[in-house]
Amino acid sequence: MCLAIPAEVTELLPDGMARVSLDGVGKVVSVALVEDVAVGDYVVIHVGYALTKIDPEEARHTLALLAELAAAPAEGVP
């Protein structure tokens, strides 16, 4: 359910709109539902609306954890 995809904000537009880019594919979406959106942020897009920002720190953390889990012995699973 709820197909959504992270895309980078490339330009803020009037009326709560913004241009986002996903690997060179550009689209104008509404960012009215998310506070403090800035150019360079990654936002999760669903039906033409940004729903939330991606937290880059947490994203890195999850990837590090995944790498650790993949390498981990039986102990040390969260």
């Binding site: 709820c2 197909l3 895309a7 996903l22 690997d23 060179g24 594919v25 550009g26 689209k27 897009i45």
Partner: protein, 348 residues
């Protein structure tokens, strides 16, 4: 019918097609002369007959016909005119044949701007000249406003298959390799990017192209090592492999990691909830090739501009259920089924 009979040329810039342009009178003759004959010019059209007469060489003839209805009529990388040439040339070429001649029939909606019609006819002429396959006969009809969507084009193509070559959809055997000639989904995504309500910007252009020279290179390289070729248009690679699986009574196993897909096409598909395997191509082919011929066919394809990104993506397998299965990039397995209904953008 000499164009000199008319005092004033059509007002291509501002004029529109009206019902008189399909009624068989002077207006129709002028439309044909000023737009179509000028764009498509060749010795057969110049003869002004209702048919074209030509000699054919030895060999088996192939014939194909196709209707073109596309929205929008102009899209990044092409338009309905060039598409009508490429699509029919490719359908002839997929038999391993050398395409010789095309016919074209236009159904035009009343009110359609001359300028757009001329742009389409010019593009068609250019595509035909580039391919070396002339449009030697044609027809024009005009229908009332609302009874067509701008313009529809039907083209028929004929060609000749070299002696000894017999490609056919029932010839795939377990162990044969599946080769695609390049990146998947470019055409469908380019067209969709310009559809109303879906507008997104992308540098992706349609792959619309005539593939007969690529095919000639493949035939020269492998000859009877080629089992069957098909261009994966509507329904994409998924539809083509499912058709061939049924017709050849085999299954296919493809490898997701091996499928060539441009990052922008993958991104646009993610955005719309589509799968590049099901998106249309207009300048790509799928070849099922005997295992021992795969390397030489691949090399011949990669040496040609239209086959630069060619890749072996899988093989035919024994399967009573005729499944097309895929090893996902993730390491699991899945079916690549027929498309259910239309490929529609999804929210979930």
């Amino acid at each position: 019918m000499s164009p000199k009979a008319y005092r004033r040329r059509l007002d291509i810039k501002n004029g529109r097609v009206d019902l008189s342009h399909g009624s068989g009178g002077r207006a129709m003759a002028q439309l044909i002369a000023d737009v179509f004959h000028e764009a498509l010019d060749n010795e057969w059209l110049r003869q002004g007959n209702d048919q074209a007469a030509f000699d054919v060489g030895a060999g088996r003839m192939v014939m194909t016909t196709d209707g073109y209805v596309i929205s929008p009529l102009f899209f990044p990388g092409g338009d309905i005119g060039s598409l009508a040439v490429h699509g029919t040339v490719n359908d002839v070429a997929m038999a391993g044949a050398r395409p010789l001649y095309l016919s074209a029939s236009f159904i035009i909606e009343e009110g359609f701007p001359f300028a757009d019609l001329k742009r389409i006819a010019d593009s068609m002429g250019e595509a035909a000249r580039a391919a070396g396959v002339p449009v030697v006969t044609g027809d024009t009809k005009v229908v009332e406003r609302g009874k067509a969507d701008g313009v529809f084009i039907s083209t028929t193509g004929i060609g000749v298959v070299p002696a000894g070559l017999d490609l056919s959809a029932e010839k795939a055997r377990a162990g044969d390799r599946v080769i695609v000639s390049g990146t998947l989904g470019d055409h469908g995504v380019a067209v969709m990017s310009k559809r109303q309500n879906l507008t997104f910007d992308t540098a992706i252009v349609s792959d619309s192209a005539a593939l007969h020279e690529l095919v000639a290179a493949m035939v020269a390289a492998a000859g009877s090592g080629l089992r069957v070729m098909r261009d994966p248009t509507r329904g994409g690679l998924a539809a083509t492999l499912n058709e061939l699986a049924q017709q050849s009574k085999v299954g296919f196993r493809i490898d997701e990691d091996a499928l060539p897909v441009k990052p922008e096409v993958a991104a646009a598909c993610e955005l719309l909830g589509l799968d590049p395997l099901y998106v249309a191509n207009e300048g790509k082919l799928v070849a099922i090739v005997a295992p021992e011929a795969a390397a030489v066919v691949l090399a011949a394809m990669r040496a040609h501009p239209h086959g630069r990104d060619a890749a072996v993506v899988g093989e035919a397998v024994v399967d009573d259920h005729r499944f097309v299965q895929m090893t996902t990039a993730f390491g699991g397995g899945r079916i690549v089924d027929w498309l259910s209904g239309e490929q529609l953008p999804r929210i979930c």
